[in-house]
């Protein structure tokens, strides 16, 4: 796989430097059989340093997960080595089973088969656990 360009697939760009592997994990890209490249600390005129993920296959990227991590991320759909579509990212109102509540006193720490739900506080980028209201703190 040529990491400079792909013929057909998805490029996830403008990922804050260091967050690329989080996205790989959250989108389950480790389990994919197609070529996946993670470029770390690439130069960016817009944000200084950035991570980029290139996936050489048509996949349905979960935009909610990306919007939850960082709504400034861009997603480009590539066909015939050209960008044919730029998908807009927006912070979703809720994310289900994307991250786990870290509050050891939360019911999600003991109740089996309970979906992990985080709700966005209206008008902000803050997400809180649906059950205990603890704010989600991403790893820095």
């Amino acid at each position: 796989m040529n990491v400079d360009s792909i013929e057909r697939g998805v490029v996830i760009d403008h990922i804050a430097a260091g967050k690329g592997m989080d996205i790989v994990r959250l989108l389950d890209l480790e389990k994919m059989t197609c070529p996946v490249a993670v470029i770390r600390n690439a130069r960016s005129g817009k944000i200084g340093k950035k991570d980029i993920i290139k996936i050489e296959d048509e996949i349905d990227v979960n935009l909610d997960v990306l919007g939850f991590i960082d709504p400034n991320i861009t997603v480009n759909i590539i066909e015939d080595s050209r960008i044919v579509e730029k998908r807009r990212i927006a912070p979703p109102n809720q994310v289900v089973n994307v991250v786990q509540c870290k509050n050891p006193r939360c019911i999600t720490s003991t109740e089996r088969d309970l979906p992990q739900i985080f709700l966005r506080k209206p008008g902000s980028k803050v997400y809180r656990c649906r059950y205990c209201e603890q704010e989600y703190q991403p790893r820095d």
Binding site: R105, C106, I107, Y131
Partner: protein
Amino acid sequence: MEALRHLISPGDLSRAETDRILDLADEIIAAPDEYSAKCRGKKIATLFYEPSTRTRLSFEAAMLELGGGVLGFSSADSSSATKGESVADTVRTVENFADIIAIRHPKEGAAAVAARYAAIPVINAGDGGHLHPTQTLTDLLTIRSLRAHHSLDGFTIGLCGDLMFGRTVHSLVKALMERDGVRFVLISPKELRLPAYLLDELRERAIPFEEVEHLDAVMPSLDVLYMTRVQKERFFNEQDYVRLRDSYILDAEKMRLAKEDMMVLHPLPRVNEIAAEVDADARAAYFKQMWYGKYARMALILALLGLCPVLGQPA
């Protein structure tokens, strides 16, 4: 068919609905006989995974005085929780035998899980260090009944002690944020400050509040003083508990600094944070507060069962 309503957080009730429940409680106090058969044939299940004296007995007395029946358990040890049964499965069992559930659980959010799976109304009777909305109805009814103008607007409340893990405090702050002109004085050691999510909300809504570490200096400014216990069961570390438990003790000397019509509330049980000598002070309202609690719960049960038309459609 009316939509199923629960009370998990004070925010589940609009301000108008809360007022109508308090009005209904007043009506029950004035004419209890008129309500003594309202719940005939109905049962409340009290699912208490954590010890309780006041809240459980208050719910049970409330249902009995409405003519209904009571079943349930008073500790996790006497339920199938010891066999590993989930909250979800427990409520799906209990809904076959009861018409309404009051649940207390040591984990935060447990009542929200119960409400997610139950086909009958669920009342949060305390979920860990998170919320305790029926204590809040009790507190609001007490404040409204005992204040000179019977109003829940325009006063200064001091909340003292464990504001971090004090679920009664979190619920009361949430409810009083919906009122007009309430000023908060938050009195706690740094380690037990009000959680950030509530402080953020106070700031965002430009509600006046101050955080202080000493009770004496703010006593003269308070209309209501809400004392809380530093709860051992909320701490992971015995040393932290021992260090902080005696942070604030209200005694007759401090009461001399307070306004003549200030009221002292406490969700109880107390350990040593209110000296026994304060009990005889006319401003000590914490025993009367328990009395109001039963009526607040009677009104809530009638509301959630749809037996008195005080609730609108869910927001």
